[in-house]
Symmetry: C2
Subunit: 300 residues, 2 copies
């Protein structure tokens, strides 16, 4: 009888404690993560861009842009971008890099990739492509969420899915024709998510490290933020595919899995920020405000 | 009879032409604007921050933060910020300025303002405060729109309204107590709108010119993006109230009125981008992606 009373009380206390315990912050949740909560980025999907100020690491998303990411790998392998430059930095919009004299017939041409490529603005909705719905809704798309670490959107009626232009998204610049962006000219979003570009640009991935080397660049003063003088352009020392970087320099990057209970807890912790500093908890979150944590694995 | 036929045809042609004419782009709409589509910023609501790299102009919003904007005017008048610094630049978040040794009892104290001030996170909903609803909806607030050139939100049931944390929003940094942000410490949003800060921070205005001098600053490498070494901080030469700047240096700034048919056309033109480059037109727009144009009046 007494034992059963204690058992009941213990269960009751456990329930009360679970219900009223302060929810965990994102850092506490990450500290509690298991190795299985992370996936390691494939070295075939990593691009290392080296600038004089540091390194930018981009993860490619071949599930959304198979042709373009193949082209980009090929361009990196033939060292196409080495000694080319960042030519544009438009405030609250994008930083863009490639060959500033690409329009000149005498400019450096890649040998192994086509000059145009059918656009990959969106892809067929396919249940084999992972997608975790964000229940908060969206202004631009019928449904948004996360596909294996990339913010993305779906149109279940139109049976399409696509990557979204959140901060740090990387895409292929193009001229007016849809097929004019084969990947030599790339850009990264450095401002408030320009979601009106969704389905107008083939997104190829996102920056997972070193974003500040792009976002803090001086803004160009020409139209669209292009640098007016060649000397203002920022030289790209090199862009390499992860696979081609020697092991000791390559590093290993892990992205928090977005199809796990832990990731749901991260989202919930960002909807209702538990930190004492917050006086008003939003209770909702918008797609591009959901952090997708990345960690560099330090070899022991 | 014949006259009536021609009249009917003319009317019909006019209607057809209006219906099928290419919609105008934002620049075409602005080029068509009348003087009455603009309101001139009051010199009592302008703050000029001078850095070695250029000038940042902030428009204050006394309708939303009457006590704080009064405090800020007073601080500018006693030249509180002169020779203080920008101490924090956190990527995709905020740039923050003030006295880096504010916690030190021996630090520079303003003489005319209180050390704490009741927060102005939100204000009573009042029909006398202008508000133009954006019909596209919002993830965070029951209703969003524009109040005299400032992106804002309302809760008609809770009878409150507040400014929103869009790119360029300026607010008063605070410690954990709500009243701990009396305006000596200010910040500007330099990344994707951190809307979870809405109703947690007293917003006081927005940057209307020179934003790039803040957004392109090197990011701090300390916690929260604080600069780790004093030498990394960016010195503020001065912050002045527009009213106190001599006429020839003051300039005149005009903000597009947000309660006009022209502004509705601007929004519509950004929902359905008419530029030939766009292959997919979103048809919708999110609050912080609506541009609120500003022009500097050049005296003839």
């Amino acid at each position: 009888m007494r034992e059963s009373f204690y058992l009941t009380m213990s269960i009751l206390l456990f329930i009360l404690n679970s219900a009223f315990a302060a929810p965990l912050t994102m850092s506490e949740l990450l500290a509690s993560s298991q190795d299985s909560d992370w996936r390691e980025a494939d070295a075939d999907n990593l691009l290392y861009m080296t600038l004089s100020t540091g390194q930018v690491v981009i993860e490619l998303a071949p599930l959304f842009a198979p042709r373009l990411t193949a082209n980009i790998r090929s361009l990196a392998r033939e060292r196409y971008w080495d000694d080319l430059s960042i030519n544009r930095a438009q405030d609250n919009y994008v930083v863009q890099w490639g060959d500033p004299s690409a329009e000149d017939p005498k400019s450096k041409k890649p040998t192994k990739v086509p000059e145009t490529l059918a656009a990959e603005f969106e892809r067929a909705l396919d249940k084999k492509v992972p997608f975790t719905v964000l229940k908060d809704g969206d202004i631009y798309a019928p449904e948004v969420g996360f596909s294996d670490g990339f913010p993305a959107a779906r149109d279940p009626r139109g049976k399409k899915m696509w990557l979204t232009h959140c901060y740090g998204a990387v895409g292929a610049g193009r001229n007016t024709p849809a097929e004019s962006g084969p990947g030599m000219e790339l850009f990264a979003v450095i401002g408030h998510a320009p979601r009106h570009l969704d389905r107008n640009i083939s997104l190829v991935g996102r920056v997972i490290d070193g974003m500040e080397h792009l976002s803090s660049l001086p803004r160009g003063t020409g139209p669209l933020g292009f640098y007016e003088k060649p000397a203002q352009r920022i030289t790209i020392k090199s862009i390499r595919l992860g696979r081609d970087v020697p092991g000791k320099d390559r590093g290993r990057w892990q992205v928090l899995r977005t199809d796990t209970p832990l990731f749901q807890k991260v989202i919930e912790s960002r909807r209702h920020r538990p930190e004492e500093w917050f006086h008003h908890r939003a209770g909702r979150i918008e797609l591009c405000n959901v952090p997708i944590p990345v960690r560099k694995v330090t070899e022991k």
